[in-house]
Amino acid sequence: MHMTDLIFYLFAALTLLSGFLVVANPFTRNPVTSAMFLVLTIVWLAGLFVMLEAYFLAAIQILVYAGAVMVLFLFVIMLLDLKEEQRRHYRKLLTGMSVVAVGALLGLIVKAIRASDVGAGLATPMVRGDTKPLGTLLFTDYLLPFEMVSVLLLVAMIGVILLSKRELK
């Protein structure tokens, strides 16, 4: 077994473990803990991106997701009073049914992946997600979507300002 394979299994296990702890932490139901484990999940995912040689995206993942988005999340969690969450009970039947449904879906997807054997015949080609090739692609083939995304961000910004006004006129 190669060293890289070992690192993949380590990162994959850590990603899934932290992901599980976001959703169903057996010790606490505090949203802050969930948010912290989501940050961890994102960091391990960035590690997987590095394994896939998507270096630019790994950096973006850490900067934008673990940095900006999760800080926003934590800010809102601190803003709201969420003590309520600890006291609520979950309906057992609903939880069980959800677990069964999602488990069935997972089984289906994994079976499909195994049956189709998508990885067969694909060697490990050298394509590196460095800044330069990605930037070139972004400003040639994907120029229009890039501009549209900038408009989208502007719209989102205006929307947020409108939504957080106290009185909507």
Partner: protein, 101 residues
């Protein structure tokens, strides 16, 4: 067994299902939102894996756009949750039954 595209896809599928489970089981709006982020990240992982193993960078550009749109989506969604909380004093889906018949 050599790690290939299949392995990444299976990790992505498991992560996606974890997110879906969170959306279905958890009752707190913020945690549901975090689970949604988990699902988005799972899709990102699948796209990056496909991009790498097909030697085509288009998938990574797609992920770049997804991250950007997710950032916009999070800001709007959280603003909505805060506005809702201000009006109803709750961030719990079971308390939000205004549209129920």
């Amino acid at each position: 067994m050599e790690v290939g595209l299949n392995h990444y896809l299976i990790v992505s599928a498991v992560l996606f299902c974890l997110g879906l489970l969170g959306v279905m089981v958890r009752r707190n709006l913020l945690v549901i939102y975090m689970s949604l982020e988990l699902m988005l990240n799972a899709a990102n992982l699948a796209l990056v894996a496909f991009s790498r193993y097909n030697a085509n960078l288009d998938g990574q550009v797609m992920v770049f756009f997804i991250i950007t749109v997710a950032a916009a989506e999070v800001s709007v969604g959280l603003a909505l949750i805060v506005a809702l909380y201000r009006k109803r004093q709750t961030a719990h889906v079971e308390d939000l039954t205004a549209l129920k018949l």
